[in-house]
Symmetry: C2
Subunit: 434 residues, 2 copies
């Protein structure tokens, strides 16, 4: 078997079905896949492939960011410490109306993709407008992306007349389906409070037709509950279900205000859920009922949300917070164990957003999306268990990143684009926000 990239001398967490850490191991990659993995004494010859010395480094599957609006990195810190409704309507929507166009989406996504890769995120599920430019930017930077074109019943960037929203989305799907191995096109209906039942139904029909995922913000704030509830569908999640939207290919983002009946429904329909802990706190939305979701075996994953409401595209921080925030009110130190969170950030999220079934683990046949962490640093000493990655892991430990078999970050440097130029472009745009 020809090897394209061979990672040697690295530390490997227990492989599926085993208990032992491999202190000196290898990962062999051919094309975009992991083809072999094991201890160094079984390492095959590299042949004409490239060798990457993983000495002193821990190899992990890349982290998967289940929800983002990459271009919104431009609005990071533009308006902090506000409630979601005022943040959106007084600040973000006006700034978006004025500034969002392909010339903004493309460089801003490149910057966001750079931030994510450097933080060990190898795949993002993104939802925005001009999503073709998001897809283009991610492909160029080398970040895997489930790119979901936004659908909303208001005039939106790139969709002046909302009656065209489904048509624009269809064009996007046609354009990007099968075009790039890194990009999976999908759909993102903004929310039940900004999309009519007809729009939601049509969006889901379109997603089914193209066999892709439909993402939707739902039950994010208490206000939304009051706004959407009707005698027939007493919650936004039941509203979606009444419209036939809930299935394995629908991803309900946020679900902060999902009640017991909603949770039962999400479990029964096997719908996916992505929670964004930092964003939920920052926008004062609340705390999604993660322990109840896990108790019901709901398919759930983690996301950062956009940088404007977080304000970091950093899944290490999400993991740490998710593992801690449920331990109080009421007090329960084992409400969500660290190991469960690590599993969510790797396999769980990948599964929810519809990646290849082998994603989020290290095994032959899995996509070669992986990261090398420098554990030889003070904040990652000593090592008793992989809980350490949840409670002390950090973006700064990420030394190399491989996506789809391609080395995109090496020795903490992004290899794919001119990052300084991208930062300059984004800062030029930022100077026009006020």
């Amino acid at each position: 078997m020809k090897i394209d990239l061979l990672v040697t001398n690295c530390t490997l967490l227990p492989l599926p079905g085993t208990q032992e850490i491999i202190a000196r191991g290898f990962v062999a990659i051919t094309g975009g896949d992991i083809t072999a993995i094991g201890p160094m004494d079984q390492c095959p010859p590299v042949g004409t492939g490239t060798m990457l010395d993983g000495q002193g480094q821990l190899v992990l599957p890349g982290l998967v960011n289940g929800h983002c609006h990459a271009p919104m990195i431009l609005f990071r810190g533009l308006a902090d410490d506000l409630a979601l409704s005022s943040w959106l309507q007084d600040h973000i929507f006006p700034a978006e109306a004025r500034l969002v166009n392909p010339a903004m989406v493309y460089p801003c996504t490149k910057l966001a993709a750079a931030e994510m890769l450097l933080a060990g995120i190898t795949c993002v599920a993104d939802g925005y407008f001009f999503e073709a430019d998001v897809a283009q930017a991610c492909a160029e930077v080398g970040l895997r992306c489930v790119a979901a074109q936004g659908i909303i019943d208001f005039p939106a960037p790139g969709v002046a007349d909302p009656r065209d929203n489904i048509a624009v989305a269809t064009t996007f799907l046609d354009q990007w389906q099968g075009r790039d191995p890194l990009i999976k096109p999908a759909l993102f209906a903004h929310s039940p409070y900004t999309c009519s039942p007809r729009t939601l139904t049509r969006a889901k029909e379109l997603a089914r037709q193209y066999r892709t995922s439909l993402f939707i913000h739902v039950a994010e704030t208490k206000g939304e509950i009051e706004q959407i509830s009707t005698p027939l569908a007493a919650s936004p999640i039941r509203h979606l279900d009444a419209l036939g939207l809930l299935d394995r290919e629908t991803v309900c983002v946020h679900c902060v205000w999902a009640d017991e009946e909603d949770l039962d429904l999400l479990a029964r329909r096997e719908a996916g859920v992505i929670i964004c802990p930092q964003s939920h706190l920052k926008l004062a939305s609340g705390r999604a009922p993660l322990p109840s979701m896990l108790a019901r075996n709901i398919r759930v994953g983690l996301g950062t949300d956009g940088a404007a409401s977080n304000n970091s595209l950093d899944l290490f921080r999400e993991m740490d917070l998710a593992a801690k925030m449920y331990k109080i009110l009421p007090p329960d130190p084992v409400a969500v164990p660290a190991q469960r969170i690590l599993d969510l950030a790797l396999r769980g999220t990948a599964e929810v957003i519809g990646l290849h079934p082998g994603s989020g683990m290290l095994a032959p046949g899995s996509p070669a999306d992986l990261i090398l962490l420098d554990t030889n640093r003070p904040n990652l000493q000593p090592w008793y268990s992989s809980d350490l990655l949840v409670y002390s892991g950090c973006a700064a430990a990420v030394r190399s990143v491989i996506v789809d078999g391609r080395l995109v970050v090496h020795e903490r440097k992004l290899l794919t684009i001119d990052l300084a130029e991208t930062m300059t472009q984004v800062n030029r745009l930022a100077s026009r926000t006020s």
Copy 2:
């Protein structure tokens, strides 16, 4: 005026009394003090001093860690996801009884000090046993330390007979008072539930005699409230007050379960408070009433607590969490604005733990404890305000660190000790924990 170290071309946040960021500025340091600061066009000649180019970097006062048990870095991750009582009594106390001695305290503190400096922390208030070895290690690594010798009514590391606890503490104060400009010796009474009223009173007398601070864990858990409350002193904080302990030189650490009357008392006595948000969540202790503390102008600061209950000695993470965690339950996006948190992490904490009055700010006469942040990285773009430091700041951005006028971290490398050797020593100790 002779200059020893001159930082040039750096970005400076608005100086006290001004509104404007200085895009190209300088900081002049003589001995351990800042002697001049301003825009580059007023920069004095460096003479025979050392020049440090701050191009593309933001200079901030060093972060101040208001509470730590540095040697406990050995127990980071040894026992996660447990309640405080079980964590302490079933895991930490037994491990401490077996392992804590000067040969453990010294290298472990060096590692903790390294982690803190690399994360932009220039001063820590530490409390542990064998605190002389903590002080020695911090002085060597170059971290400023308010080193507080532990006092407890149980046999403890270095104090086999608890009747000697005050005598051992006195010896420590005698040894370290005025010995090293980086070290201020102080006292740390473990808690009202592990120290008798007589011990607490004697500890406070000793602190007064040596004009230093007395730190004490108090009102950390709900269980403690029930344990300590008596008809005469219905809460641990009122218990301390009844013993005459509360004044400006007493630092009440945690105060998670301070009720309204306690808070009024802390304000009236002008006692200091340190909260440790990450630790409070991780140990399922609860959420300290920070908004109520700020509303009463209680002197409050932030700490990480020991690495075993956090698990990172990283004040950027504490700031981010402290700014977010009060925004929910009940929802209030402006419960604690980011700017208030930044001020706490710089000036507030420094004031509470009794540092020089100029600490935590950049001004002539202030101690030269400062950090240079590389803002030229994706996760710190764009810049709209210094809120960015709270919501997106990270240890990884710290490029250089100066403590007491001495450059101790440069280009992310610790200059003062052999870090690899220290890590090896700590890992050797870690292999003996089980």
